[in-house]
């Protein structure tokens, strides 16, 4: 029942927050939800329970990794939200807490569902709940962003639904029919290859849209830059990974059907297209939240490349990268929120002298920059190196070369923006920000924790994490 509780708790608490009057109550519920989620998820991760709902809800290694990411980021975002909303100039919105909780609930459902249809339902629910969060500002820009997000992702996900149906149609006649992952995997060898191929491509493009793979990423910079920072952190760190999980599930089935090679090629191509597109748009990017968004596109590309290379080490690296990227990107979006509160602008050129104006934010932002660009000893260095080494070990030197070049371009582009923002003299004319006291502490603690975590994973990997990653890469056809 623990899985059901894990999924249901956010929804129940969300409804509770909806009906409860008063800000304090809603806040209490919000923090409570973060706590409940953290406790339950920790239990589930440390000792996975058996599947529930006839196998539709279960916790395999893959899901657990993503559950960990979602939970950690949400709990930190909940803390962060307090400080952020307290310092933000915009009016409070009653629907914020309930929608955040629905968002959390649907993401939790997505990572725990072992049924392709149920997964689809959960993922579409994340779109719907997060769209309203993007629209939080009620500005023209945020409206536009929410609109594009809603339409593009819904269309993309609709294609994924078609893909899900095609997958079912690929099942052999009389197969104990369902879209349960286990039965799909069991029946995979007998599936009709043509249908399965089409199904995989529909799922790839569909969930790829949501994941932010180029050229379907177009909504991503808009949505991430317009959403409030805690939401951006969740979108980038948690939601994109959930969509990635959808692709991984499809990949699992395709691999089980012997179509692993077929499935890897488009992943590799889309991965590199994403990395390249992101690198190009990172160059001289004038808006720092868009910069972070394009960086997410880049890193989603890296994940796709990692899976596309194939083999145990590469898949292991990709999954590790998903984890590390979430930590670093959460850190950066949290820090970017603090920067926004300090400077009231999202323009890179409007922000300078962060080191002088707010040393702690500068340290966090710097740590985030180093982490996201894969500088040791941060975790992303280990995962990017692992993918690179896997590419070379797998006999793909050109893939490795392209990978390195695109990473370097992205590094240079982000480095330019980072230097401009953190160093130099702060502009004189900006309004002073009330960035101190407990509010500031609440804003700085979550990214600080993420920075430490990212640093920690760059130097040491706990046994449970290692075993989960190994088990998950086994699920994806790696030899461990």
């Amino acid at each position: 029942m623990i899985l059901t509780a894990l999924v249901a708790a956010p929804f129940v608490l969300g409804i509770l927050a909806w009906v409860l009057p008063g800000r304090t109550a809603r806040r209490a519920v919000f923090m409570g939800a973060g706590l409940v989620q953290a406790v339950l998820a920790a239990r589930v991760i440390m000792s996975p329970p058996p599947a529930e709902w006839g196998g539709a809800l279960g916790a395999d290694a893959l899901g657990l990794i993503f559950l960990g990411i979602v939970t950690l980021l949400f709990a930190l975002a909940a803390v962060y939200t307090f400080g952020y909303m307290a310092l933000h100039r915009h009016p409070r919105r009653r629907y914020y807490v309930p929608t955040m909780l629905f968002f959390l609930g649907s993401m939790t459902l997505a990572v725990l569902s072992r049924h392709m249809g149920l997964f689809w339902v959960a993922l579409e629910a994340t779109t719907l709940s997060s769209a309203t969060l993007i629209f939080f500002d009620r500005s023209e820009r945020s409206l536009e962003a929410a609109w594009k997000y809603l339409i593009i992702c819904s269309v993309g996900i609709a294609l994924a639904l078609a893909g899900t149906f095609f997958m079912a149609m690929a099942l052999p006649q009389g197969a104990q029919g369902s879209l349960l992952l286990d039965s799909l995997l069991a029946a995979a060898p007998g599936m009709a290859p043509a249908w399965l191929k089409i199904a995989f491509l529909f799922l790839l493009v569909g969930y790829g849209t949501k994941m932010g793979l180029a050229p379907m990423h177009t909504w991503l910079p808009d949505a991430h830059s317009e959403a409030p920072s805690p939401v951006s952190a969740l979108l980038s760190g948690a939601l994109l990974n959930c969509a990635f999980l959808g692709i991984l599930r499809a990949f699992q089935v395709a691999s089980a059907a012997g179509l692993g090679e077929f499935a890897r090629r488009p992943l590799l191509v889309l991965g590199f297209v994403s990395m390249g597109t992101a690198a190009a748009f990172l160059i001289r990017q004038p808006d720092y939240k868009r910069l972070l968004a394009y960086s997410s596109v880049e890193h989603m590309g890296i994940l796709a490349v990692g899976i596309g290379i194939g083999g145990g080490p590469a898949v292991f690296g990709a999954l590790l990268h998903a984890l590390n990227h979430s930590l670093a990107k959460g850190l950066l979006f949290f820090a970017a929120g603090a920067v926004f509160l300090l400077y009231h602008t999202k323009n890179v050129s409007g922000v300078s002298g962060l080191a002088k104006r707010a040393p702690l934010v500068a340290i966090l932002f710097t740590a985030g920059f180093l982490a996201i660009t894969g500088t040791p000893p941060f975790g992303l260095f280990v995962s990017e190196l692992t993918i690179l080494l896997a590419a070379l070990a797998g006999g793909h030197p050109w893939i490795a070369a392209l990978f390195l070049i695109l990473l370097a371009v992205a590094f240079a582009a982000m480095g330019a923006a980072f230097l401009e923002m953190v160093f130099g003299e702060p502009p004189d004319e900006i309004a002073p920000a009330e960035f101190r006291g407990w509010k500031a502490a609440l804003i700085l603690a979550p990214p600080g924790l993420l920075a430490l975590a990212s640093l920690f994973f760059g130097l040491y990997m706990p046994g449970r994490m290692m075993s989960l990653l190994k088990a998950a890469s086994l699920l994806l056809g790696g030899r461990g």
Partner: protein
Amino acid sequence: MSSWVNAILVAVLLLDLLLSVTSRLSVLIRGFAVQAAGIAFLALLIEGFDSRHAWIVAGGTLALKAVAIPYFLNRAVIRTNARRELEPLVSYGTSLLLAALGVLLAFALAARLPMEARRAGLLIAAAAFATMITGLLLLVTRTKALTEVVGYLVLENGIFLFGLTLLGRMPLLVEMGILLDVFVGAFVMGIVVYNIHRTFDHIDVSALTTLKEDEP
């Protein structure tokens, strides 16, 4: 019974063509509603009138897609005062041509696919494809936010049509979840459209291009 199925599928196909040429939003919405109703009826026809599962799905579809969503959308039309799609990105003639080509393509695709469980035959796949293509056509060529929403819903209709062939294989909960998602999706989209109208005083989404990359 098969003749009924075929008749409805042909109607769905004709509706696709209608949707692709009409400039009136009310016709668009009504066309979508009728199509959804047809699909709901198909669910019963294919799965059999004795299936409780089929009844629930058909009922849900009818209630949400054929009644509730059109109702909201119509209200949005009235509120936003946008009755016609005046400046599509391609002319209506071209639209029709594209839709017709889409139908042809749909048949070509359907013929090439090995249809498992050919309970409804080739026509159902073709109709599903054609409806999907029509939805995509609407999405790509129209500029009014509401038309986009309808385009999405038509795409969804097409996919659902596919889903009908799998009706027995899906847990009811998932089916209902899908329906609920579509409904909430349409609802949220409606809210956003309404907000667009309120903020910009129009719902012409081709004007929503503030968020872009400036050329150097």
